[in-house]
Chain length 460, copies 2
């Protein structure tokens, strides 16, 4: 009996001690990030000295060189580039668009080509417009009503969802598949209401796909601003015969070589067990990609620096991966997973930040129920930092290809209210990122990585 | 036995039903706020058509007239103005300041007078500067080192606190009492590092007090920007003999009459039990007072509208109070409490929003432990809206004077990371308020008011 009591007392003491140490380590991480963070300075350079970093662009290469150098300066155990072939799409000269209510009476509409779209004819494309709310509307209208027309997809994001990503997910089919579907009914072009909850004048680009439509049958696709979409919609109600004109000179080139940028701290005890933390280094070309996903890159870089600065020696290998080409191909994520699978390493945890540099609200976990229960027991450690959400759900596009039954995937969940004001638009710029919010996100990520490193065996 | 089982079943059924109704009502409030909110439009008008609304100014009167009209248009049961005498302080012509390293070699520093300060002599004030970090430093330096000097209070806000209000509270003594204390040691003026966690060029004003110092002995006090403070500090290390010059023409006038703006929906069952929701209508004069506290005013106005729109008929009287003169006197809050105490009404709950229009994180309650336990049982109703914090603590300045042993006081707790970037400065402007974040705050407040109205008797 005495022995049992002693053992229980010892276990309690050890648990309390370990908890105390976790609290202290996490406090040290947050203190360091908020008083001596590097993420904001890195983001300033990426955003303001380099700017938008579309795959295959000069800026994407500059971002590779810059971040590699910064990781080297941190004194990590290893820094390297992982080659990957990426698509190269170029926007061409500035797009423009207007609608014409009477011959010569025109109203300009802010527009941008969707990523991957073909150009319009050199002199532009002018046609009648048919407004629809969904892909399903196309079948209802049929070839008779759509042949020779520009299809205008105008289903707005639902303001009632609390997570704006939910609203995005239920709208983005218009942007991604609108052109491929409309082409089947003889449409000559597609314009899409921007994926933006705010009413403003910014057109928001983003990826689209032609599916298996032959190159010669592809029709140009573009996004117009939310204000532009509302104006066009009202004008169409007054006069359904409106002509819409747009011109874009975008072009798809041959694939080019680019890189994932990788750095790591070697694990002291289990060097072959790998924890990945990352974001994507490429961005769209309209803004400077500060929120999407400069923020995730610099936070991930700072995770390794924060662990070093706070004197933590990881048992497992902690690896930062700045993935190339999330926006229009996911080649970097796929390449990383391909190499990882052929290696002798075991990836136990991957964490992505690709939802903006806003105040962290928690994490979303893609894992089995048992693992989630264990992870959820750490929740109280994050409450002093107002990080409350531990939910099951989507993690991140770049780490998705790593998925197997053993790995835990997770995504940082920042406050999402402002994200789609900036997403893929010219106003995704550095001044819209708050230094403290960015640093709180980096600290939250570093704390979770610390816990996974320390308790990895208990999780998997 | 059968009867007991039946009774228990009935109670369970009723509890479940009531919970369901609460969930539905709260969802309806959030849906309405996010899809058909009025708060943002009202804030646009207050910020961009009226602007900064310092007590006693023309703009403060415009804000009284405008909000009264808006409340009348809502078809409330009663709308009225509650007269209150308020202090009238005027900034005068734009302040300016520089430091002089050598005769004629000057560096300009962004500066603004603190609210309530006296002017400098008409030609300005020039003197040597002594940098200190706290009020306690004054006694250490003593009259010998401070006589005839300008005291420069330069203790920065601590970036390590997660709530930025904690950092503000532990710094603001420099601004509020710095001049009164420094004057005792013969200082001729005071400049204070702005209460701002960000390094930028905005000076942040705010209230200060001379305590019982006679008018003739008062010394001018001003705030300089955080960048200006860092530059001055570095320059003083290189050359302690630097002269600092500043000029301000601010002036305190006789008190003038102003108003609290009040509107209410009469309770159907307990009309004499009152629930107050409010913010303060006055603001500082440098920006347009969008976050501090236009946001709180329009959210409070929308609480009543959201209850009406969702078809809820309150049992108790729900009253919106837009308090005048929180910033430099609290006369509106004091007047409201004075009138309330002399009336036959019983105030059971008061909720203030005065921490910015950012994403709501929860509420802070000033009440006894029993009430708090009951309130905390509502927490799960707010989790679908990512509103997680139910804590005991500070409520709000304007509702503070209502405090007694029966009333529950509460403050909305929005995300605080960006607040002090804007607080009391020229960049507290409408474009820094996000529509959805503002609307989520209004909906959170309306939901809490709904629960207090429905369960009021169970709480008090």
């Amino acid at each position: 009996m005495k022995n049992i009591v002693f053992t229980i007392s010892l276990l309690c003491a050890l648990t309390t001690f370990s908890q105390k140490t976790d609290e202290q380590q996490i406090k040290s991480i947050f203190d360091t990030s908020l008083s001596n963070g590097k993420s904001y300075d890195w983001l300033n350079y990426l955003s303001n000295q380099i700017g938008g970093r579309l795959s295959g662009s000069v800026q994407a290469q500059q971002a590779v060189d810059y971040t590699k150098k910064q990781l080297e300066d941190l004194g990590l155990d290893k820094v390297w580039l992982q080659p990957v072939m990426v698509p190269k799409w170029n926007r061409g000269i500035p797009e423009f668009a207007y609608f014409e209510t009477d011959p010569g009476v025109t109203t300009n509409i802010p527009i941008c080509a969707l990523g991957g779209s073909v150009a319009t004819p050199l002199g532009g494309l002018k046609a009648n417009v048919v407004e629809v709310k969904s892909l399903d509307d196309l079948a209802i209208l049929g070839k008779q009503r759509l042949q020779g027309k520009i299809v205008f997809f105008n289903r707005p994001m639902d303001p009632k969802n609390i997570s704006t990503f939910t609203s995005y997910s239920s709208c983005v089919d218009q942007r991604y598949a609108g052109a491929a579907e409309a082409a089947k009914y003889g449409a000559v072009g597609v314009i899409v209401r921007s994926m933006n909850l705010r009413l403003d004048d910014y057109p928001h680009t983003g990826s689209m796909s032609y599916g298996d439509i032959p190159v010669k049958d592809r029709i140009p696709a573009a996004a117009i601003s939310t204000n532009g979409a509302d104006l066009l919609s009202i004008s169409l109600r007054l006069n359904p015969d409106i002509n819409f004109f747009f011109r874009q000179t975008c072009e798809q080139f041959e694939d080019v070589e680019s890189y994932n940028v990788i750095g790591e701290i070697k694990g002291t005890t289990y060097p072959n067990e790998v924890i990945v933390v990352g974001g994507h280094l490429d961005s769209w070309d309209l803004g400077d990609g500060a929120h999407d996903d400069g923020a995730g890159c610099v936070q991930s870089m700072d995770v390794l620096r924060l662990l070093k600065e706070t004197g933590y020696k990881p048992k497992r290998t902690i690896r930062v991966v700045l993935f190339m080409n999330e926006e229009n191909g996911l080649r970097g994520g796929n390449k990383y997973a391909e190499v990882a699978k052929s290696s002798k390493e075991k990836h136990i945890f991957a964490l992505e930040s690709d939802s903006g540099g806003f105040s962290p609200r928690g994490f979303s976990f893609d894992c089995n129920e048992d693992d989630f229960k264990k992870i959820a027991s750490w929740k109280n450690l994050f409450e002093p930092y107002f990080v409350h959400l531990f939910i099951k759900g989507y993690s991140g596009a770049d780490i998705g290809p790593l998925k197997n039954q053993d790995i835990v995937l997770a995504g940082l969940v920042p406050d999402s209210q402002r994200y789609f004001d900036h997403h893929h638009a010219a106003n995704d710029t550095f001044e819209h990122v708050n230094k403290r919010e960015l640093e709180l996100g980096a600290a939250s990520m570093a704390s979770l990585v610390y816990l996974f490193d320390k308790y990895g065996n208990d999780i998997n």
